[in-house]
Symmetry: none
Subunit: 196 residues, 4 copies
DNA sequence: GATGAATGAGCGTTCATTCAT
DNA sequence: AATGAATGAACGCTCATTCAT
């Protein structure tokens, strides 16, 4: 890989990171390329040198955001290998909520992509969700198999967890810092009940 | 009430219904008056004869939908006065999910308040939510007071219930009829656990 | 003239009067038929039963406004037949200013009709101006002929008088009542100097 | 100043000049950005690259015109330091009229502040007027203080002068060249009387 | 590689005008 | 005679997209 290519990759990475930030804050529709460009301190037109358009940029951003998010949860799961199952699940739920609330408050809106998007992109997003989902699914099924967890339905339980976590920002964002922390704790605790 | 007035009301009702549909499908920002008008087979400008603008139309759509929904749940709660607490709660959860999935599959987007919504609308939505929320809150707190329910936090529990119910259509819509019914049952059952 | 015809004339008169009022306050562009209709307590569409459109209504309004204005000045001139020439001129100037400021604050804008108007209407307006102009022209020329007035040029003098009077609302409107009265007095006094 | 910057400035200058022209011909409300763009042979949207909106464009137009005009009068006043007061006043009046008639025949409409103009613009216009006004106010008050001029009211006198000068194009524009020159002379002479 | 400039389609909104009733 | 309803053209404005330099 040439030096030029590395430079380009680095640039692309930075653009995507910033785009993920903006898309995460504002959602797809409310995000303008102008704002993305501004935060990168370049002009709007420059973005087109790297991305074919808003949709592609959004896709890359979602991908990055989703991958980053998933990897952090996976890393956390790894680092908690010693903890008890309930402890680990709660920690994962809590971390997920914290990321949603603090870093990607508009993620829900972002994953509610416009129907007008090409099927390929929608599939890609679904794929990302699946991988994301897997982090929690593994915990639950392993716990159930081990007889430590008991759920009505794994799918329904995961559905409830994800729905609650993705909407957490709507509830928590406008709370004062301490109240917000408590609210996030409560949510994680409440969701933990679903596996008992 | 005059014939003219009735006609007008009927017209307004149709507009609001269609608007709720489109807002639900697309979200606030992505909804264009052009599309609402097209589905009504009138021109954009005609909408302004009945509504002062996009915001008012969205408000009316949300208001109608929210009020109708709440009233049906309140009626159900009333008719179940005799049932046991857990029974009644599960029935309410199941009914809520059914309404969401079958009648307002797009409600999530309607109640998913983007920061870009006019403040007035935001407040109104919050108000509607509160009333809607109250149906379930009453059940939970009464159960807790009676010592039959036990929750970590009433607020967090309600938050989880509402989030899950509003996202149910995303999961259930594309399932086959029987699978869908079972999924809805499971969700209601899962959420019931939150009060135990 | 039939009773029906009289009734119609009466209606037309009322419409035109109200239209003159609104056009006088807002100017041509800012006046909407909606507002005219509202003040008449009828619907927009009804106006079209009497007038072919906004332009015709405006023309009629200007005509009425101009005629009324002129007639009041002529009446005043008649009632001051005994007064000295300078007295009469000043009174006329003062009256003109008062009407402009208090009743038709946007008259200037109204007489600055859009270039897009049909030539016939523009001619009619010019005609109205001429008659209006004549009230003052008569005074000046008579005074000059009698050796009591002395002007550089009758046309230029009248031009200055009319320009000043028509712009008076711009200056006077936002003054407090007493200051406004004084300002109008001053203007009339100042313009009187032009004939000495 | 870079070549790019110079180019941009030049572009802005041209836009403002054309805008002043159109605003002058049509007035604020009747001016459409479409027409401004058309005369510049660009599209409507392009204007927004340079100006935030119609208001800002109008402000810039008025500002440019007003500043240029005032500075020329101030320069003339400076160059006539030796002349007698009456001479200097007449020369200023005559110059003002000439600029109005020959260069800014539509200035009246620009300075004719409709109530509908955004408040910010109104204030700015008032400010420009004040500075413009000052050129003449200085002459008058100095003359009065020196006992060479005598006026009923400085304010009213200035009001009359400005009104007359700004409406001069309405009268003079359609005259033949020689008649027009004479008319302008007459107007200046007539207005001179106001200070005697 | 990046910029400044321009484009054009589309949006929410206004309003004169038309017309069936 | 008058109304309620609808239309459609136009407006100010936004923004993704293109492109010469």
């Amino acid at each position: 890989m040439s030096r030029v290519q590395r430079k380009r990759d680095e640039r692309v990475r930075r653009i995507v990171a910033v785009a993920a930030e903006v898309f995460g804050e504002r959602g797809y529709e409310a995000t303008t390329l102008e704002e993305v460009a501004e935060r990168l301190d370049v002009t709007k037109g420059s973005l087109y040198y790297y991305f074919a358009g808003k949709d592609e940029l959004a896709t890359a951003a979602i991908e990055t955001l989703g991958t980053d998010w998933t990897e952090r949860l996976e890393a956390l799961a790894g680092s908690l290998a010693e903890a008890s199952r309930p402890e680990r699940l709660r920690a994962l739920l809590r971390a997920h909520i914290a990321i949603a609330v603090q870093e990607y408050p508009a993620a829900l809106r972002l994953f509610l992509v416009p129907d007008s998007w090409p099927a390929a992109l929608r599939d890609r997003i679904r794929e990302l969700r699946r991988r994301h989902d897997l982090v929690f699914r593994r915990e639950i099924t392993a716990g159930v198999d081990a007889g430590e967890f008991s759920v009505v339905s794994v799918d329904a339980t995961l559905q409830a967890m994800h729905a609650t976590m993705s909407q957490a920002p709507l509830w928590c964002s406008h709370l004062a810092p301490e109240a917000r922390d408590r609210a996030m704790d409560d949510l994680a605790e409440v969701l933990s009940k679903l596996s008992r």
